[in-house]
Amino acid sequence: MAERNILEAIREAMDEEMERDERVMVLGEDVGKKGGVFGATEGLWAKYGDKRVLDTPLTEGMIAGAAMGAAVYGLRPIAEMQFADFVYPAFNQIVSEISRIHYRSNGTFTAPMVIRMPYGGGVHGALYHSQSNETYFTSTVGLKVVAPGTPADAKGLLKAAIRDPDPVMFFEHKKTYRLFKAEVPDGDTVVPIGSASVPREGRHLSIFCYGYMRTCALEAAETLAREDGVEAEVVDLRSLRPLDTETILASVAKTGKALVVHEANRFGGFGAEIAAEIGERAFEHLDGPVTRLAGPEVPGVPFHHTLEDWFMLNPARIVDAARRLAAY
């Protein structure tokens, strides 16, 4: 097993898939010679040439729309949005076209493609380089949405996404890119889309999270165990659509208490979907209110570091919320 950070794992997944399947190509802004603004595609241009690793004009709509055309034609494009915040010019293509072409053509066309998007705050990116906008896409039928939180999941899920016959929105929390290294299985290891993982088992309450919040939740769970004797179970959703509701419900059946944590704002956020699932299907197991801990109701992450710190969730806040729920 090799130690990798998330950025390296993503790069390795693309490299291996491009090596394995010549239909796989990468397109986006600065993905070529520069290797992407975060370095995710570093080395691919030199290895695969400037057609398969294609620098595009600054036109997100074109990146998504052309990727769909290429996917319909039979390629397996990986489109990079430089930041998830800049995906909106491509929204029409993603929502009107990419998500719907299979259904509207009665299954005769498919769009097997991946849209990779760095998202999330905590990197001094302010309103337009920090957004967690996953719910626009999780509420769009026809898309799959994943948000890994470890190097192994990033690599395995990206490989799965590239091979998937359907369009996959691949959310990469940019704060996690170089946050830590961890073991990534050698060889061709694919993490199936639609399965959650349980990185820490517990019996007093369940914490549901994804992306960077996995790291924060695990740290919070350590504190809760050490200082309170509360054993929190941490469930990393990994896939937001399709959602592994079985793992969620099984965890709630075990602990009786559910805390959903995400960086995106609370109102109509992804936590509402989890809470509703639990409320509808695990009501008899509940021993406390399903609780959401989410980003504040402001339009974006404000820039100054004190303001950004105010915005961001962190392990201490998760500990606070978990303590209140555990004591209920």
Binding site: R52, G65, A66, Y73, N92, S96, S105, T108, P242
Partner: protein, 353 residues
């Protein structure tokens, strides 16, 4: 009769007599299907119709320059004649308009006018205008990346030529010299708004200069002129010289759609004289002058078209209606929990090469 010492124009373009008669027949058939569907709409059998009447000459001519089964097409909502030239039958078109369960475009899921057909390399069309032009560019990019000898043609109206996606598409195609042909069918009206309120400067073709490609204006009533332009664009694309924008000046003979009444915004004298610009009699006259079309041949073709349209209508009408049990199918290409299941109706990943 053409004088015997003058070589007919179509032969100079490499078209045989059979070719031009085939084009003429394709135009007549597309018109017959279109007119039949208006009747069916008025009779309450079809919910909505958006017409291609007046566009048939340019559409058949352009599609005739493409290779059926090899080249691709990203259509728009008036693309009836070009979709038929690419391979859709009269029955396919009427079936789609009746929203029957085995409609090749969508299985009854899409409104009329949303052409598409995986077996014919016609990409499924949606309703937001201009999105398909990026798909065409993407297909062209795919062919270019893989080194395939494939050309993609896409169509849109002059109103749609203002959408940002059109400009993104043309710029990207120009940058990489992608094998794609942009056809703007300029009929002078974006529903009710005339050209001078839509296109600054009045020329869509002129915009090509900004995207590093030739921009041509052709007369949609000059079918062989349209063919010549498309043929040259096709050859350019195959030679790796990049995209071409062709603006075909066509006439919209009908209202925008069956929900529109063009008398509310078009001058009565203009509406009265529309028929004089109909490309079908214009082409017939040219073929007669070239000695290719005679009364006898014309009658034969028209009789065939009439029989075909009657047969197609009957067969389409007899096809099964969709069932709601199926409405949740083919949401995703593979079964996923919490989503639809998939039973692709095509044996393979249709649309892929």
């Amino acid at each position: 009769m053409a004088s015997t010492d003058t070589r007919p124009r179509h032969r100079d373009l490499g078209l045989s007599d059979e070719d031009v008669l085939g084009m003429y027949r394709a135009m007549l058939l597309a018109r017959a299907v279109d007119e039949r569907m208006w009747l069916m709409q008025r009779a309450g059998k079809i919910a909505f119709i958006i017409s291609g009447q007046g566009h048939e000459g340019a559409q058949v001519a352009v599609a005739w320059a493409m290779r059926r089964g090899i080249d691709w097409m990203a259509p728009y909502y008036r693309s009836i004649a070009s979709a038929m030239t690419f391979g859709m039958s009269a029955e396919d078109i009427i079936t789609a308009h009746l929203a029957k369960s085995d409609d090749v475009s969508s299985g009854g899921r899409q409104m009329p006018g949303h052409y598409g057909g995986a077996p014919y390399n016609i990409v499924s069309l949606s309703s937001p205008v201009g999105t398909q032009v990026l798909h065409a560019v993407g297909i062209a990019m795919g062919a270019w990346v893989q080194g395939d000898d494939v050309v993609t043609m896409t169509q849109f109206g002059e109103g749609t030529s203002n959408q940002g996606e059109i400009h993104e598409a043309m710029n990207f195609a120009g940058v990489h010299k992608l094998p794609v042909i942009f056809i703007c069918e300029n009929n002078g009206y974006a529903i009710s708004v005339p050209l001078d309120r839509q296109v600054a400067g009045g020329s869509v073709a002129a915009r090509a200069a900004g995207y590093g490609m030739p921009g041509l204006v052709v007369d949609g009533g000059d079918i062989l002129g349209c063919y010549a332009a498309a043929k040259e664009a096709h050859e350019r694309a195959r030679r790796g010289e990049g995209p071409t924008l062709i603006e075909a000046r066509v006439v919209r003979l009908t209202s925008h759609s069956s929900d529109d009444d063009q008398r509310r915004y078009r001058d009565p004298s203009e509406v009265e004289h529309l028929k004089e610009q109909d490309p079908i009699p214009m082409f017939a006259a040219e073929l007669r002058a070239a000695g290719v079309l005679t009364d006898e041949v014309d009658e034969t073709i028209r009789a065939e078209v009439k029989a075909e349209i009657n047969d197609a209508t009957k067969r389409a009408d007899a096809r099964p209606e969709p069932v709601t049990d199926d409405a949740h199918e083919r949401v995703y290409a593979e079964t996923i929990p919490g989503g639809g299941t998939a039973r692709p109706s095509a044996p393979t990943e249709a649309g892929s090469h």
